[in-house]
């Protein structure tokens, strides 16, 4: 017989047996577990891959560039030339305030953005032909002689497209209505209604003169990092570098946490699926033992048995990996849909990486979890055909466990990219396993003692629990692991969401008002009371520059310390107050008491202090418009910048320079219906500047809600893996349970007694597993929340009651559902099938 044809006949047989097993439902759990693993990994992989690449590519649109150099002085021409010589693309923006004139003498102070022809370098402008109209996208700004006004300015000047608008001294034709700018999220602060004009029209407006407040920006796109290295030494005092991360700080943190969660959930999903796969494969192999014995009796050699079953696994692997990748692709579309609002406008296509990772995960799971029990099928003694009690080939428990553990560690590390997460999960796993071996045995023993004093059903149920001591110990461990992972994810989700909601509760201030002078303050306060507008306190604000720390000139200190990031020489907004804001926390020293307000002391923000190595007791010198003020640092505090309430690096204990020249700052919340009040407010107090941050707030809130949806979605996927594990685990011991129950029924036990005994066994198993899972979950959560997510940890006491109840309920239901045929099918048939 030729080897090729023999190989072919084995393959033919293999496919035939596989097809029958599939139709007979023998492979359901195995295939489902593998499918979930590949789908989850591919889906999450594709999603993060496309998002990350798109963000890299398009996040620049938040700045309309990859980086900006901005300052109050014109950007030196040589910087632009240098950038261009390095192959970077450049554009300019000149921003200033100018009076704009509309129909019938209407006028409005507008925020003018004059752009060069190349603007925007990244992202797109959204424009329309009517105010608040449906937008279309364009990558070109206005031509010379044109002006694009935003809807609010169009409305207040009563203009339509085609009309002429006066911007300072220039008359320009309104050709488009501006709906959105790519760099609108540039702090989100549109001081006044916006108009975009061409840079060439700036001289004609006459608005940019010596002394006017103008902001110049050089936009850069390309390899900005190498340019930054060259540019940094030439920086000087008047210009700042901003890149995508600076521009996008608030969003990034939220997305980062969500990303960590998704990866964590994804890797746990794979681990769960792996466990399910191992269990399902063990059962599959168990049920193949008599077939293998028969095939060997009929002359199939061990080598060909291995070929046959390895071939089957390979077929399952290829088919399921292919399907898994396909459904992963669908899954990533669901994610994209869920995140639709905050995704970059044009998504970059995926790389090959997620597909490769999905396929690799499938095959690694198959090799590590499914192959070992199938591999030893070849060792099945053929004499099993004569006596079914002859043991089949067994894999060393040690080897399988270490192979599985290695795969689990590898998978968790691979996806989380963090040894910390890996260590935390492995540690909680070990604690759970150790706890199980000890506790499960004790509890099973105790239950047995208790059961002997109860009725028949209880006695049978608890005796069965005891009889399968080591098997049940193992099963409790599997249940406990699955439940633990589910508890971790569910609780983590809840605390993440609570944390986000706490950051941005209902009524978070969405407007800032500053330049409020003393004479306007009382009027404004009473307006807020009258209109029921919630506001933060009025903070006096004085712009001043830090010039010395302990008599060391700030430039020298910076040179010595070389802090990264912020430019500490810029003018700071300083305030004084003896009340500590809710979102501030003193971490060193004590907040100002009544005595402190009699002398000038400083409270400094923690990051600012540590960057400049400032300690309590250090004396800081500030320059307020040339007037020097010295004061010692009394305390150091943390500030929650993302609370969107007014916050300051420096708070003095009492008015600086007698409070001369200070203007006030406040923030307040306006609902959409209250929005028209803004027009009255601005016309009554013309000197006040109002910044609307409702757009950015809405953006953050929509991110939170979308991230929430995505998290719930992935959680449901992981829950599915968990359920598959439970089903696989119940099925693993199903045959012996079915057999015992069938014998009981043959002996005349009523269906209710049999089902009751099974229910008691499963419910007891579930409750024990739930208890252990709770302990493991609390430990893991402590580390995950404090170490990984920088959140506070609060133990969830209720879980110690809920955990066992949930465990008992889930496992009771899954167990009873899987064993329902015990009382439905005649016992003889059950006995024959086993």
């Amino acid at each position: 017989m030729s080897r090729t044809s023999s190989w072919q006949s084995v393959q033919k047989l293999s496919v035939k047996l596989l097809w029958r097993d599939w139709r007979g439902g023998e492979l359901n759990v195995l295939v489902a577990a593998l499918l979930v693993a590949v789908t989850t990994v591919t889906g999450i992989g594709l999603f993060s891959d496309r998002i990350q690449n798109s963000i890299l590519d398009e996040a620049g649109s938040l700045l309309a560039a990859d980086a900006q150099i901005t300052g109050s002085r014109e950007v030196p021409v040589q910087w632009r030339e240098q950038a261009e010589s390095m192959g970077l693309r450049t554009a300019h923006i000149t921003s200033f305030q100018a009076m704009s004139f509309g129909q019938e003498g209407r006028l409005q102070l507008a925020s003018v953005k004059a752009v060069s022809d190349a603007y925007p370098l990244k992202g797109e402008l959204e424009v329309s032909d009517v105010p608040f109209g449906v937008s279309e996208k364009t990558t070109k700004g206005p031509q010379v002689g044109e002006a694009w006004l935003n809807s609010r300015l169009m409305a207040s000047l009563d203009l339509s497209v085609g009309d002429t608008v006066g911007v300072g001294d220039a008359d320009l034709v309104v050709t488009r209505v501006l709906i959105n700018e790519p760099d609108n999220a540039d702090g989100g602060f549109s001081f006044s209604p916006r108009v975009i004009i061409n840079e060439a029209d700036v001289p004609e407006t006459g608005a940019v003169q010596v002394g006017s407040r103008v902001r110049y920006s050089l936009l850069l796109a390309g390899d900005v990092d190498s340019y930054y290295d060259k540019w940094k030494p030439q920086q000087g005092d008047h210009h700042r570098w901003r890149n995508v991360t600076d521009a996008n700080e608030r969003v990034t943190e939220t997305l980062d946490r969500a990303d960590s969660f998704l990866l964590l959930a994804g890797s746990l999903g794979v681990v769960l699926a792996g466990v399910a796969l191992a269990l399902a494969s063990k059962r599959y192999a168990q049920r193949q033992l008599s077939h293998v014995a028969l095939l060997k009796t009929l002359g199939l050699t061990p080598q060909r048995i291995t070929q046959l079953y390895a071939g089957n696994l390979a077929i399952i692997g290829f088919v399921v990996v292919f399907l898994g990748i396909a459904s992963g692709w669908l899954l990533h579309w669901v994610f994209l849909e869920l995140f639709s609002g905050l995704l970059p406008r044009a998504l970059v296509g995926p790389t090959m990486r997620p597909f490769i990772i999905g396929a690799l995960t499938g095959f690694v799971c198959l090799l590590a979890f499914a192959l070992p029990p199938v591999w030893v099928l070849k060792d099945t003694p053929p004499s099993r055909v004569l006596r079914s009690d002859v043991a089949g080939g067994t894999v060393s428990q040690w080897k399988t466990t270490s192979l599985g553990a290695l795969a689990v560690i590898g998978i968790v590390y691979f996806y989380s990219g963090s040894w910390l997460i890996t260590a935390i999960l492995i540690l909680s796993g070990l604690v759970a396993i150790a706890g199980v071996t000890l506790l499960a045995r004790l509890l099973i023993l105790a239950a047995r003692r208790l059961g002997s004093r109860l009725g028949t059903t209880w006695r049978l149920g608890l005796a069965s629990l005891h009889r399968h001591g080591s098997q049940n110990g193992f099963q409790i461990m599997i249940f406990a692991m699955a439940l633990m992972l589910l508890f971790i994810l569910t609780l983590l989700r809840t605390s993440l969401l609570t944390e986000w909601q706490r950051q941005l509760p209902e009524g978070t201030p969405n407007h800032f008002a500053f330049n409020i002078f003393e004479q306007d303050r009382a009027g404004l306060e009473s307006l807020f009371v009258q209109e029921d507008i919630q506001s933060t306190p009025f903070y006096p604000m004085m712009r001043g520059r830090l010039v010395e720390v302990n008599d060391e000139e700030i430039g020298e200190r910076l040179e010595r310390l070389r802090p990264d990031g912020d430019d500490f020489r810029r003018e700071l907004n300083n305030t004084w107050s003896d009340v500590l804001s809710e979102d501030n926390e003193v971490v060193e020293g004590e907040w100002f008491d009544a005595q402190d307000t009699e002398q000038l002391l400083i409270s400094i923000e923690q990051d600012f202090a540590s960057a400049l190595d400032i300690q309590i007791g250090d004396v800081l010198t500030f320059s307020f418009g040339g007037q020097m003020v010295n004061a010692p640092v009394d305390n150091i505090r943390t500030v929650q910048w993302d609370s969107l309430a007014p916050n300051f690096y420096i708070i003095f204990s009492r008015p600086v320079l007698g409070g001369q020249g200070a203007a006030y700052l406040t923030s307040f919340y306006l609902s959409q219906e209250q929005k028209p009040l803004l027009v009255n407010l601005l016309s009554e107090y013309s000197t006040i500047t109002v910044i609307e941050v409702d757009a950015i707030l809405e953006q953050v809130q929509s991110i939170v809600s979308q991230v929430t949806k995505a998290i719930e979605f992935i959680l449901s996927l992981v829950l599915m893996s968990g359920l598959i594990v439970l089903v696989a685990s119940v099925q693993a011991t199903l045959d012996s349970r079915l057999q015992e129950s069938a014998i009981l029924r043959t002996l005349g036990a009523k269906a209710a007694v049999v089902r009751g005994a099974l229910a008691i066994e499963f419910v007891a198993l579930g409750a024990l597993a739930g208890l252990l899972a709770t302990a493991g979950a609390e430990i893991a959560l402590f580390f995950l929340q404090t170490q990984l997510l920088n959140m506070d940890f609060q133990p969830n006491i209720y879980l110690f009651i809920l955990g066992p109840v949930i465990g008992a309920a889930i496992i009771g239901i899954v167990g009873l559902m899987s064993t329902r045929k015990v009382t439905k099918v005649p016992p003889l048939i059950v006995l024959r099938q086993i």
């Binding site: 030729s2 047996l17 095939l295 009796t297 009929l298 002359g299 053929p382 004499s383």
Partner: protein, 229 residues
């Protein structure tokens, strides 16, 4: 090797011991026997006497603690499992008490199985013919669970003969069947055996069935004695 070239099965001092709590349990106590090609031999004995163990050894399904088993002149105790499997495929057919059909294959596919394992051409055709010979025409595409016990055993008999192996081992072939069906199966088995000229080694505790064989060997407490007829 036995000088008699007609000997197809031979054992020499075949011993099987299994460890138990008291030390070890001797199941086969050094058995010497031989079977000529074309003979029908019954091994009888009470439950637990070791007859099935002996059958397992003779068929190369199990390996002894000591001694040798020769099949067609080859010492199978010196072979590895790979070689034994190949030998079984070529020389041995089986009929079991519990039929041992693959539940996921149809009657026809079950009969085809040994032919496919040996990669025989026209496997389907041969299997079809054998199913007809055992009286199961029209039931080819039924699964084992759709067949009665007697029908399942007919499929098993067809499978045993289809591979055209010179030796047939039968382990309590009528043990799971009622008397009437058992008789019919026995008739079929002996009829086909004599038609094919196969060597039949049959394990049973049914004296009537045993009596239909040319030789009877009685297994008592691990020892084998020829029963004079």
């Amino acid at each position: 090797m036995n000088a008699d070239s007609n000997t197809i099965i031979e054992t020499r001092k075949l011993k099987q011991e299994v460890p138990n709590r008291e030390g070890s349990l001797v199941i086969l106590k050094g058995i010497d026997m031989s079977v000529q090609a074309g003979q029908s031999v019954a091994i009888v004995g009470v439950s637990g006497s070791g007859k099935s163990t002996l059958l397992g050894m003779l068929a190369g399904l199990d390996t002894p603690s000591a001694g040798a088993v020769f099949i067609a002149g080859q010492d199978i105790t010196q072979m590895d499992e790979e070689a034994r499997a190949l030998l079984r495929g070529e020389k041995v057919g089986f009929v079991f008490q519990n039929f041992q059909l693959l539940p996921s294959l149809t009657a026809l596919e079950n009969v085809m199985l040994p032919l496919e394992v040996r990669d025989e051409p026209k496997a389907q055709q041969t299997a079809q013919q054998w199913l007809e010979r055992v009286g199961l025409q029209g039931r080819e595409h039924h699964y084992p669970q759709q067949l009665s016990g007697g029908e399942q055993q007919r499929v098993a008999v067809a499978r045993a003969f289809a591979s055209n192996a010179p030796i047939l081992f039968a382990d309590e072939p009528t043990g799971n069947l009622d008397t009437e069906t058992g008789r019919k199966i026995a008739d079929l088995l002996f009829e086909l055996n004599s038609a094919q000229g196969t060597t039949l080694v049959l394990v049973t505790h049914d004296e009537k069935l045993a009596a239909r064989c040319e030789r009877q060997l009685r297994m008592t407490a691990g020892e084998l004695v020829e029963v004079s007829l």
